[in-house]
Chain length 478, copies 2
């Protein structure tokens, strides 16, 4: 809760308990609407909630309602009279109505739709049916559009008269006689311009717009790149159908990066804040991933199981398997993270794939070399100081320093292979996912780990069986 609010909380609660409308109104004047909504979200009692709603100044009710969380909105909608519902709808922007309705149960949606005036209902219905996560799903239909031949003076007059209905007047959209979108004018340019100029004369040289079906992540990139306040959305006939404002884009940016973070870390995205999320929901967000990852491990379990005899004979080999598998997993994860992030930020496209692979290969060889050399030294050190002991069990009872060095070399060689494979797989999979139009963040991590685990274990045990073990035996018999 914000500091503006904390100062007043005691007064607030008193006024609320005594139902002191005047005192409440006074306080409301000094508290930002969004903080008020945050307070209301914590009110459990529906009658107190409706009381608060009634006290909110009439011109702010729509704002206030929009800022409430889904649960509180639903509570209020259930107790609203028809009149209250009609009033609220008339005051709200279309995209806000859609945002609210999207998360409501069907019976409430139908009740609300009944009260939405016909001309607005069409927009609401259209927006409700638009594809999720596209430009159309975040646009508003209340924008300010003028003919490009209008003079600056006239434009200002029209803005004063009709601009209040628009969600933003900071960008004015221009159309020609055929209602095609032809450009945009920023409000500051309007203000600095000569009153006699036409809008076409002062319009932005950059004519930037997007199409209804564009992915919202791409829309966010356009906003960021061109530092926009608002962006036009056109249909296939190049007619303006809606406008996206920068505040919606900040929500998109946060949502998309939350999703990427969750997916890269093998947990489903939390749509609600942690403290508001039910325990059952948290469990459902986490358990499936753990179980899927456990099932995917069946390959490494199978390989380990089939080398049981070797492990029983040379138990020290089992000491290094987690180290090898983890190093591979971490390295693959690094690559996947870098590539997924770059793809999300639009840094490269499918056509860059060859460049990326060649670059990754060189990076992989460098990393593999450094890591293998370090690991050799590190394991020799672990052996020297006794972190790794060679017990007198199994086939080899007497471990000479030659044998111990060979084991370190075996681990280092396996790591060299693991590092290269993990980076190549970790970089190829996100591109593969993109090619088959799947989200690269979801499955690349687990699949990379699975593949790398298989390669690592097979390399490790086969290198031992067919290279290092024979060498060791030959040395022993010399």
């Amino acid at each position: 809760m914000s500091e503006w609010f904390e100062l007043k909380e005691a007064e607030f609660n008193t006024a609320l308990t005594t139902r002191d409308v005047n005192k409440m109104r006074d306080l409301f004047n000094t508290v930002p609407t969004v903080d008020l909504a945050e307070f209301a979200d914590n009110v459990k009692d529906p009658s107190t909630l409706t009381f608060i709603f009634k006290v909110v100044k009439s011109e702010l009710t729509a704002d206030f309602f929009t800022e409430l969380n889904d649960e509180t909105q639903e509570k209020l909608l259930r107790v609203f009279s028809d009149d209250q519902l009609v009033e609220l709808i008339n005051k709200s922007y279309t995209d806000d109505i859609v945002d609210v309705l999207e998360d409501m149960p069907a019976n409430l949606v139908n009740r609300a739709l009944k009260f939405i005036p016909k001309e607005k209902r069409e927009s609401v219905n259209k927006l409700l049916n638009f594809k999720e996560d596209t430009a159309s799903s975040i646009m508003t239909t209340e924008y300010f559009e003028l003919n490009g031949e209008t003079t600056v003076e006239d434009a200002m007059k029209q803005i004063r008269e009709k601009g209040k209905q628009a969600e933003t007047i900071y960008t004015v959209f221009l159309r020609d006689e055929k209602r095609n979108l032809t450009g945009t004018v920023d409000l500051d340019d309007l203000i600095f311009a000569d009153p006699k100029q036409t809008l076409n004369q002062i319009k932005n040289k950059e004519f930037i717009y997007t199409k209804v079906g564009t992915d919202q992540e791409e829309v966010a990139r356009i906003f960021k790149k061109y530092d926009l306040n608002a962006l036009a959305v056109v249909n296939n006939e190049h007619k303006l159908v809606g406008v996206i404002t920068v505040d919606d884009i900040m929500d998109v940016m946060e949502k998309e990066s939350s999703e990427d973070i969750a997916r890269l870390n093998k947990v489903a995205d939390m749509e609600t804040p942690y403290l508001e999320t039910k325990i059952s929901k948290l469990v459902i967000k986490c358990v499936p991933w753990i179980i899927i990852l456990m099932i995917l491990q069946l390959f490494s379990t199978m390989i380990l199981s089939s080398f049981q005899v070797v492990i029983a004979q040379v138990a020290v080999l089992s000491v290094f398997t987690p180290l090898l598998m983890d190093a591979g997993g971490n390295s693959g994860g690094q690559t996947t993270t870098i590539i997924v992030r770059s793809l999300a930020l639009g840094e490269f496209d499918k056509k860059d794939i060859k460049k990326v692979i060649w670059k990754e290969f060189r990076v992989a060889v460098c990393i593999a070399g450094i890591v293998a050399i370090f690991a050799f030294g590190w394991i020799m050190f672990e052996i020297a100081v006794g972190i790794v002991k060679f017990e007198k069990v199994g086939t080899y009872h007497d471990w000479t320093w030659t044998g111990k060095t060979l084991i370190s070399l075996l681990v280092a060689s396996t790591l060299f292979v693991t590092m290269i494979v993990s980076r190549m797989v970790g970089c190829l999979l996100p591109f593969g996912a993109k090619l088959i139009k799947q989200d690269p963040a979801v499955l690349c991590g687990p699949i990379t780990t699975t593949i790398v685990d298989i390669v690592t274990l097979l390399t490790y045990f086969l290198l031992w069986q067919y290279a290092f073990s024979p060498i060791l035996e030959r040395i022993a018999t010399l």
Copy 2:
């Protein structure tokens, strides 16, 4: 590169090769400045680069220069004449100059500082020395401030006259006689207002500002929460010292989430786009993490090494160690991700710690129960279909179904403990990091994994040695 640009690329290259200034100017008129900068970033030859710079319309050079990447900026600065430098500086906003200078070598900075006019130099120096990642480091000192008693009519006049120097006029900042910040007025409210009203009468009821030292992540949260276009930054005397605009906030949001993603996935944040990053830099971003994680594994290596005799006797135990350790790591990672993300989004603060721990504990017990039961069934299945085989090695030669069931039970019991410990550690560490003012995203992952690995391996082998193995022996002798 954008579609606007792609259409013209061929024409562009011809005009460039023939040094056709008029043709270039024509083309520049239709291409957004930011796309032009992107094109210039790919030009290697310095003389072509200066040619492009000269062709850019005089009123756009500052914009164009700001959009170039560090490398290209440096190239240009090196070949600029003193006159060119002075002109560029005069046209640029203070915060953009600072952004450029921050990444330049010291000799270039000093040369540039010499040419910055005295009154601007002070701001530049101040901004250069402000603490990184705070409100002060992203603010601009070109804002538009008026006395609150000014009338709307008069304000509009002053905006027209002096507003062009400000980075934004969409928010006008109000001060009283003592130059204290007293509020803000949005440009649209100014336009809709009665010309005779004073600014104080129409100012925003929400008076939102921030202090110079506030963390930029917190600033981004304020923007998002209150849907701002610009935010006032005040010093300790409550005087306005700068303004942050929404376009800078989008950069902050992207940078912060990139950092979180990188840290949570054990790789250093790439500050430059992948294809622009040198191979040596990519190696440096990745190798240290792999090596640190390898060193941290010394504890699990030590534990595994000390149970070598047990493994040699009951080799099948080693089949399940990676599965157990991975499940713990994944589960701890999930919790850390959720908690770090919630902390970053400001969903809860240190004082919520008890609530979070109690919630996490209940979630952990549920997850542990479900996962343990699933794992028992899954391992019985793996044994039944032969994915896990019980070879005739070591102490127990004849594995009866009782013995096999006991092994599954051992794995399931260990998982139960692992799941609870991993979630509790994964949730406590981020709070701990926050308490000692460290970034929770950096070390929590690796430390959680290390602790969970130790607990898991000890639980697994000790449960076997002191519970399951004695039970198995007693059953065998019955």
